[in-house]
């Protein structure tokens, strides 16, 4: 292959051919309220960890829906589970349980085996 000094840049477009997203479906099974999120950002605005880092629960939920969890899961690890997002969520989503469930469903190697649930 010849090095031309420039190359193909990969497309940033999210290609959604088949819409199955098993990890998100498992998360939805554990915490159905995740579907109620209207991405208003109240959680991110009041986030305690958000003061010190770029933690944003809104972006995490969106990235999980789009199957791009790799980009935002490191950020979720800053969460102190203080519960402020739970208090301000206008949709009454149990954000703390959602974060705990994300920790169990996602993580480095994807879906855990159902057996030892």
């Amino acid at each position: 292959m010849i090095d031309f000094g420039y190359g193909l840049t990969p497309s940033a477009t999210l290609k959604i051919e088949n819409v199955q997203n098993p990890l998100f479906e498992e998360l939805h099974r554990r915490e159905p309220d995740v579907a109620k999120c209207i991405a208003c950002g109240s959680c991110t605005a009041s986030c305690s960890a958000g003061v010190f880092t770029e933690m944003s629960l809104r972006r995490v939920i969106l990235s999980l829906q789009r199957g791009r969890e790799k980009e935002t899961l490191p950020m979720l690890r800053h969460c102190m589970l203080c519960g402020k997002c739970l208090l301000v969520c206008p949709r009454g989503i149990n954000t703390r349980h959602l974060i705990l469930s994300i920790g169990k469903v996602y993580g480095p190697d994807g879906l855990k085996e159902e057996a030892d649930r």
Partner: protein, 356 residues
């Protein structure tokens, strides 16, 4: 695809193209990219169709490359264009036809600007007078060279020796038509068929027997864009756009690509080589790329001109497979011979894309 739907759109965007007496201006870079295109255009209009197409040696660039690369301000560009119109007025013509799409976009833009801001036109008139002591009139009709070929596509079809049909199977050739963005995206009403489904090239293809393919990225930019390819750091962005188009058209298995702009055929042709060398992937059949033509070259082929007279040997992607499909005779050994038959030696062939 509901064909009538497209026809309905085309019917809304029909242009009344005058039939004769044209003042022709060339493109800055098309001769170097596709040498015979403009010569063929003039030959077809003058010899084959008997039209009056006047060309003055004094005309210059429209300033588009410099203007789009922000090398010259708008006023300078407008004064250059005013001088072009002055040449046309002095030659006694009113219909202005330009060979390059970027120019066509620029001329349309300038005329629109002058219509919207008459004081700007007055200023430019003054500039021209100060610089060259010339007066100019705004052309009554501005057309692009492909508009003319589109206008006379049926007359060309009548004199056609070959058709865009696969000789062996009798199937119409599957043709991807790529319209230069500056043709109708800036002023949809200025393009035959509007911006979404321009008919200028589709019309030619259909009247010459081919079948137009509508692939998803058909309106995506070919990747030319002065600012992209001029600067090496941006070239990656340019070739990625072309790559996106080829990835999208691949399942449709096109036989050829027809274009009407200086940049598109050049980049669609050359970037296939770069993509092949970088990724090892080619998009045509059995290791060849998809041949890319300007509309004049296609008209020339249909009218039976000798492929090497049309300058097809300067293409990066081999045209021979297509010529074989259309049944056009050619002498492979003459491919790399100069005008007087002098051997110019075969250039070094790329590794990943087959050439003839």
């Amino acid at each position: 695809m509901i064909y009538q739907g497209k026809q309905r759109i085309w019917s809304e965007y029909q242009k009344e193209i005058p039939t004769d007496h044209w003042f022709y201006v060339r493109s800055c870079i098309r001769q170097s990219f596709f040498p015979a295109s403009e010569k063929t255009f003039l030959e077809i209009l003058r010899q084959r169709l008997g039209k009056d197409v006047y060309e003055t040696p004094h005309h210059t660039t429209c300033g588009g490359i410099a203007y789009h690369s922000e090398a010259i301000p708008q006023e300078t560009m407008m004064t250059i264009i005013a001088r072009q119109f002055a040449l046309m007025t002095e030659a006694g013509y009113e219909n202005y036809v330009c060979s390059c799409i970027t120019s066509f976009g620029l001329y349309s833009e300038v005329i629109e600007d002058w219509r919207e801001f008459p004081e700007l036109e007055a200023k430019i008139r003054e500039n021209l007078w100060k610089a060259t002591k010339r007066e100019f009139k705004i052309p009554t009709y501005l057309a692009h060279a492909s508009d003319l070929i589109y206008k006379f596509r049926n007359e060309i079809a009548e004199q056609a020796k070959f058709r865009l049909v696969n000789k062996a199977t009798g199937e119409p050739l599957r043709v991807v038509e790529h319209i230069g963005c500056h043709y109708s995206k800036m002023f949809p009403s200025k393009g035959v068929g509007g911006a979404e489904y321009p008919y200028v090239l589709a019309g030619m293809v259909e009247s010459w027997g081919g079948e137009v393919i509508d692939y998803p990225e058909r309106r995506h930019c070919c990747g030319f864009g002065f600012r992209q390819y001029l600067v090496r750091a941006n070239r990656g962005y340019s070739v990625s756009n072309t790559h996106k188009k080829f990835e999208s058209m691949e399942p449709f298995k096109p036989d050829m690509i027809i274009t009407n702009c200086p940049g598109c055929p050049y980049f669609l042709d050359r970037w296939q080589y770069v993509i092949a060398e970088q990724t090892g992937k080619t998009y045509g059949q059995d290791g060849y790329g998809i041949p890319v033509f300007t509309y004049e070259e296609v008209a020339g082929l249909v009218l039976g001109y000798d492929p090497w007279d049309l300058g097809l040997q300067t293409h990066q992607v081999a045209v021979e497979p297509l010529l074989d499909k259309m049944g056009i005779p050619y002498k492979p050994e003459d491919k790399y011979k100069g005008l007087n038959g002098k051997e110019l030696q075969r250039p070094e062939f790329p590794m990943n894309i087959k050439c003839c």
